[in-house]
Chain length 366, copies 4
């Protein structure tokens, strides 16, 4: 029910704004006995961290996670072991530039949540976007790092597959390349880097912005997770991806393409595999049939809109009803979709971890 | 948490399979004092009902709703008034043809949830698809008819905008035409009827099937509903639309198109309206910014896959691990997306009603 | 969250009023593969059913349960097997005497929920107490009959231990006697029957009423169910017992007595049992330490107030603010606590079943 | 659902153990625009803080609360205003004496949750009781300080009414005396202080411990909060009081006494008050009828068991199955019930705040 919590058995509550002292999350329901290190959490956080290339905001945040509860330290002094009680993680806000907000304190920035916050709450913390700040997503990544450990054998990865008018060539897909040091875009297609860089430089220099499409894949997910009606695995995946800032659409498997083809083309056929288990001959379903996982890779994609923080003045109004022009100065990402990749991985991992525990609860299956 | 419930304050629990004696829903949390008639609920149910044209399954179900609790009858003997306690609605299953299920009892139909049910539950009621039967959606429509009454002034409508390779011409959009007696497709474009009819006749005669894209719109939704992070209005709308059978993708506003354009093109500008209230000059956002409603129409679209019940034999396996070919006989819709229109309207109405109550709870705003 | 649902993984939603056509419940989250018969459900319902002695209300309701969904029938044609989808159960209201309600339509009966319903909802279905009718509890008993099957080896029993000023002699405790045909009170003390009968005849003849104390015990509950803080097993047991009509207090183990004694007297000591497992030398804790089950019997007690439906006129007011005297005519129980025994067993069984699934979900332990 | 969260619309999640770096809570769903100061939160925390008399544990914790999110600072630089987003509060653990835990690392202390933690989680953080430490309750008090502001005009107070074999004289009840500097017991009866002091000194010197009964009262609660069946106001109050460490029983209004009296004695009569509103002539119901508030003061009582940390050796077993004797050294309260008073006030305030928002959500009433 909570407005700031997602998940049911693996349950993540996040808190904090970009301009307060800290942000954080509480992960409740984590199974006891999960072993991890702070360095593993930090590694995921570092992937999301801004300031690592000219294509993302230059806000400098070390994003050092502190783990405040819910773990014991193993005898090696490093490995942490979950106790089954809530894991509280906190990240301090460091780079809060003292900035003059007077020009946006009263003005509603087009495309941002300024007007809607005011409409909802009757007041608004105009500094840094409040809960809608991209900083909040760091806490999701921390939670996701823990979620990855919950489902034995699960591997969750993501990649950027399109940016504005440019898209990757799927024939070049190389998962290993996504995290490569020379790849500032999380693209799986080495040939796309130069194209994206050139394109985004143009966007950035104009003070403009552009959207993106991200694909996330979870392998090693056992068949049977999810439920037929209102706890569909794909439904919860889509909901959690939609909860990421600026996401405007989500699809599973072949997604919107499924609307254009026939039943013969769409349904994935089955045969017996070498190991005596059923295998699917294709994966149009994206690993989910009737809301329940098939054992095939879970595949989802989502569209991120271009940030509305741009240099071109735009028509708007202010709190007092005056018509104004708004131009967003300051540090912003020309393509916020890039950093959505590790966030989406985290949301996918959390969703599947939750369903893994729910399935185990109802059926007793491990 | 429940696998068969959606919503938080306006909360709908559904139950039943197509081959049991009845299906039904319990609507909990409905405000007291809502006035409606059984005929209004029935009218919505009749829109979803199969057997009304050659383009939908010929299963004949009267779908007569019985209201079992949660209402008082007004002095006119007809108007029902909610008491604030749970409204239980029941629909009997009438047309359960005694059918020979022996050929599918053990076989997993490709593209259906047969294999995943077996993987999840370890057993499977093979008659009629269990909870995944489209019959379940009748109960959603009943709940949605009540939800429409919760938000004063709200109007929720839906239309089919594409079928397989064919799409409407949005320039012809006419809401009044959607419910027209000569329009078996819920299309808003009169010119599309002949095209769709011809196309779908071809599909039907081949024993094939085809997908569709549906658009739903809610007007009269006050600004301020939703929340910034994990209770985004658009997130919950997408989740609830994704919970409809066979839906593979969902988008809000301009959706996936947003990934392809720039911040200048995408952000909706604002001006003061004649009535002294802010107005948006466009609605790319689909009526939601930062997860909170803007007061503009809420616009969502989703893709429905073609049903996997087709006459062409398809490769599959059975419960015992034998490789088999499966061909689906029986009554099926060549385009299940058509009947998704009233279902989607219901889901949109329920989602917004829930958020209306949640917003009122937290902020006291009406 | 729902006002008419309890439980999280084993989740029960009830609906219906005593003067509508039916009442019912939906049990969601039940594990698949649970085997039971309709006769077993009915047997529990028959225990709660009114009209079986002169000490309970003479309303005659057959309370025949119909199982509408969520089960398959086994080959014996009788055994039902849960499929893992929602089990909907319905009980028709038969004995709705056409009664003249005009004298209570506007008057608030003291001790009843009439005034508070009006204050909450702004309207009130004055026929039969609405949701506060004891009839609602029949649906809990049906759900509880299923819950008993969820935890392997669990046995849940209850008994009346005090009625007004009279109490049983615990030295005479005989579980087998509780369900004896000559025992209209669910008392475990054979010697108490004559005492209670005499006492209650006096109460009944005066048109008065009296309260009771009920004890419920669950044996065979594995150690480890519950959680340390806000999902304490004893907390949820107390909450669910408090949800029964007219309950004013609940205690676990030695309960309020614990406040009067010392730490030496109160804490249960432990030794190793013959089977190599720890055993407790006493059970003051009532089978719960730190919110988690110990493996000892779970023991809870609760106080039921005397019904406020009595023949003596009492001062009250009506909807229009007039001061009135109210006397309750009609069929009523002189001691509503008697029928609370099977209801409390059901609530205890449901609570433990829910925690059994939650524990399994988080820890994987069976 | 969460094991570490309570409330639905006013929702409190707590985290932390006594031996980690900090404890804290996240309050989600708080209405926007609530004005408070950090000093107000601190004042409530100071009431619960140990080390303030010889009758409570000598652990010295400053319990300084830090407010990390969800608020704006008003122009006075001191008043905080809730923004409607989650309020995260953190309290550092300061007095973590480096202690030798080797003697309890493997031994299960009788009456404590040691054995049950091990049974549940398969591992156990033996330092300081983990989540079952009384320190966790500081975070509830912080949340409760905020909850007090949510319901306009509500005043929540508590008092100790019995300690072991000694009880107050209710005729001496003086709310003002409860917080008096010379009153280390939160007793409302000035004459009881000497009695309790003498009694508890005896208990303390023997290394023993004793239980207590606490009463909490909420005045100014509007009629209409709660619901008839599974969201009864008294049910949720009892559940939340039962969630406090060491509580073994809870009652509302006249509680267990109601089981001993007749309907004539028990039901509260009504008349019209001078202000034209109904008044109750007594309050046996404790301010709740049929699960819904009457407008009278809400009155609840609960029993706290004596702490099991005592100097007398007690029989137990250890993790390896050896039979051992356990004696608890270290800092402990001879009567943990004393400090339960501010905790119970907090839980009562949070429960009512939650129901206030839920009622407003469903009915629109303020």
């Amino acid at each position: 029910m909570s407005h700031n919590t997602f998940g049911h058995l693996f349950r993540v509550t996040t808190w904090g704004e970009s301009h307060g002292p800290a942000i954080g999350c509480v992960v409740d329901g984590c199974p006891p006995g999960i072993r991890f290190t702070q360095a593993e959490i930090q590694a995921d956080l570092d992937k999301r961290r801004p300031g690592q290339s000219r294509f993302v905001t230059q806000r400098r945040e070390p994003d050092q996670v502190k783990i405040l509860s819910g773990v014991m330290t193993d005898e090696d002094g490093e490995t942490l072991i979950t106790t089954g009680t809530p894991v509280s993680m906190l990240i301090e806000n460091v780079d809060q530039r003292s900035k003059d907000y007077s020009d946006i304190a009263k003005r509603f920035r087009p495309g941002h949540a300024d007007y809607t916050y005011q409409a909802k709450y009757g007041l608004r913390d105009y500094r840094g976007g409040g809960r809608s700040s991209a900083r909040e997503t760091a806490t999701r990544v921390a939670a996701g790092a823990l979620a990855r450990k919950v489902v034995p054998g699960m591997v969750v990865r993501g990649a950027l597959v399109a940016m504005g008018e440019k898209a990757i060539d799927r024939a070049n897909w190389d998962w290993d390349y996504v995290g490569h040091a020379d790849n500032p875009f999380f693209t799986p297609d080495p040939a796309s880097v130069a194209v994206f860089a050139d394109y985004l430089d143009g966007v950035r220099k104009k003070g403009s912005s552009v959207g993106a499409v991200i694909e996330v894949v979870a392998e090693g997910v056992p068949a049977g997770l999810g439920a037929p009606v209102y706890a569909k695995l794909d439904q919860d995946i889509c909901a959690n991806l939609m909860s990421i800032n600026a996401v405007k659409g989500v699809e599973i498997g072949n997604g919107f393409e499924a609307a254009r083809i026939t039943g013969e083309e769409n349904a994935d056929e089955m045969r017996m595999g070498a190991d005596g288990k059923p295998v699917f001959l294709s994966n149009n379903s994206g690993g989910v049939l009737g809301g329940i996982s098939t054992g095939e890779p879970i595949v989802a994609r989502f569209a991120v809109k271009p940030t509305s923080s741009i240099l071109t003045p735009r028509k708007s109004v202010d709190k007092d009803g005056a018509e104004v022009d708004v131009m967003t100065k300051g540090r912003h990402d020309p393509c916020v979709g890039i950093r959505a990749v590790p966030i989406a991985e985290a949301m996918l991992a959390c969703t599947i971890a939750d369903h893994y525990l729910r399935h185990r609860g109802q059926t007793g299956k491990q």
